[in-house]
């Protein structure tokens, strides 16, 4: 079954897209619900097992950042995910109601962590950016902060 044949929406470049939306509470553990939804979407569009796993981990880390840094574990602020599928790509928007990344931390360096005995952290963005084809960060008054994960198709 071709997913293309269904929910139609004109996109700027005249492609057919379809969307799946998910909303989860800002609580640790809920990122696993997003991971499983991501896997189902990835399987549905026929992504390979390897790319499916990569996407799941990127989604998990983007959700964890949205839960922790974006929504500060605030119960009244859900994290919203929008999976949008076109013929060219699958994009996953992970949306929180925070202010976005203010200072981009340096890429973590394992050698340095081991040598200087500094605490290990900051692997989230590193993983996100290494596991999908592109990552964008957006901010809008209306929607809050968006981490957009992009997987190119064929």
């Amino acid at each position: 079954m071709k997913p293309m044949a269904t929910e139609k929406q004109k996109t700027p470049d005249n492609l057919t897209t379809m969307t799946i939306e998910l909303s989860i509470p800002s609580a640790y553990g809920c990122e696993k619900i997003a991971m499983d939804t991501a896997r189902a979407v990835a399987r549905w569009i026929g992504l390979s097992e390897e790319r499916t796993e990569d996407l799941r981990t990127a989604v998990s880390e983007a959700c964890l950042n949205a839960i922790q840094h974006g929504n500060r574990l605030n119960a009244d602020r859900p994290v919203r995910l929008v999976f949008a599928l076109s013929q060219k790509k699958l994009s996953v928007d992970v949306i929180d109601s925070g202010m976005g990344i203010r200072r981009r931390p340096k890429t973590p360096d394992l050698e340095a962590i081991l040598a200087k005995n500094v605490p290990s952290r900051g692997w989230g963005l590193y993983l996100i950016e290494h596991l999908v084809d592109a990552v964008e960060y957006h901010r809008s008054k209306k929607h809050g902060h968006v981490t957009r994960l992009i997987v190119n198709l064929a």
Binding site: Y28, G29, E31, K32, E50, E53, D54, T57, S60, E61, L64, L110, E111, I113, L114, N117, P119, S120, R121, W123, G124, Y126, L127, H130
Partner: protein, 115 residues
Amino acid sequence: MDDFKVNLQLEKSVARLSMSGDLTHLAEERMATIFEKIQSSGARFLVLDFRRVEYINSAGMSVLITLLTRSQKAGLELRAFGLSPHYQKIFDMVGLLKYIPHFDSEESAFKGLPS
């Protein structure tokens, strides 16, 4: 949520740490406590069994890196087995595989160690 659990077996100078559940920030305390036990046992090798760990997030990776830092200080040699191909790839990306070599099987992970 799959609670994180650990099981420690000490034999001669080899410690075997079998983990199960989710390796996240919630594993931090448990891992700190267990590391003290390992250290005071005088073990020289630590073999990590990941077969029943299905989810490792970035906070869980940091927990492992802390374990690695402490192991290096204590002169403990680390080994691992049972990671899924996906997490092997991530450990490789991050540079962890250099310090915690991954073996294809339980048997090969223990090969050459005192028994």
